[in-house]
């Protein structure tokens, strides 16, 4: 025995972070305790505030601490253009790219029948509701360029076409098999600009 209970608990809790193993967690705990307790307290407070205060935007379903997020609320954005993505991280990535000025809609991942994730589970009915009777003239499908992401895009395209809405897919400037979240802004901007009609 060498860790006291509070230190042991802290190390275990740090291992709850993605990519943090036992050695890293131990190093983090020690660093905070020995060198920077203020950073530790600050992190505790930031975690608590975020876990309690951050919910989802009622309109686009991205992470937001207000009922309607800043991007949905911004009157300068183009209501005619709706970009559909798989996760809030993807919204962040597209925003960082800086070239898109339309609206967003965030799915809960991609279709995956084998995991029990059908259209209902990932929020496709809510997307149709969002689009119908709205000013949206074009839906850009920006799901990941993976097999599942493509399948999800095609499924959604099939539903939107009959509604007379233009449906496009981000261009193949994005490398196949990559994840949108990790792609650089320039590539993403190209992919948005070079979008092609689908279906």
């Amino acid at each position: 025995m060498s860790f006291s209970p509070l230190i042991r608990q802290l190390i275990d809790a740090l291992r709850g972070l993605p990519g943090v193993g036992p050695k890293t967690a131990q190093r983090m705990a020690l660093n905070l305790l020995e060198r920077d307790r203020e950073a530790g307290r600050h992190l505790a407070h930031a975690l608590e505030s975020a876990m309690e205060g951050v919910g989802y935007c009622r309109r686009c379903r991205t992470l937001s601490e207000t009922e309607i997020c800043d991007m949905c609320d911004d009157p300068r954005r183009d209501d005619g253009l709706l970009c559909v993505l798989q996760s809030p991280a993807d919204v962040w990535a597209v925003e960082m790219a800086g070239s898109f000025r339309g609206r967003y809609f965030v799915l809960k991942g991609h279709l995956s029948p084998i995991d029990g994730l059908g259209p209902e589970e990932i929020g496709i009915p809510a997307l149709l509701e969002r689009v119908e009777g709205s000013a949206v003239a074009e839906v850009i499908l920006a799901t990941n360029p993976t097999v599942e992401g493509e399948a999800t895009a095609h499924y959604i395209a099939g539903l939107l076409k009959p509604l007379g809405i233009k449906v496009s897919r981000i261009a193949h400037g994005v490398p196949l098999g990559g994840e949108l979240e990790f792609i650089d802004g320039g590539t993403l901007a190209h992919a948005l600009a070079g979008r092609t009609a689908i279906g």
Copy 2:
């Protein structure tokens, strides 16, 4: 703009952890918010408890949430043997090794006059106080095998010798499981000089 203030604060606070850059912090924040808020709350609580509740053992100066740590308090440990280390992390490492059953004393790093860290700053007077008039018969100097660690060990040895206490230094040699081919010359020279009879 794409992160709301609470998310931005959380990402910034996570960057206070050692080895966590902006991308990793973003991934951690998203993972907690999207997949595991319970882990986030748990971490907040563990951090708060540890930052407030963990202090230093009055006797050995390792991190402890009690005035005297479990290792100093354990009556089954050998009072005659005192192992001197540079940090609480080193205590943990020696404890994990499992073979040492004496007591510990933790310095605040090593001597570094250039940084204004003299004997007083790293706790050498407290070490002498701890040893004098105690049951300690042998002090094992287990500071790091670096130039500064060696210098610190030699300095302490010079102070303890006149007190009639046996002073030893942890052995230098090849680490178990290592390959000779990749071990530096200094270590090899030490390993050869410190060879022991076999069979």
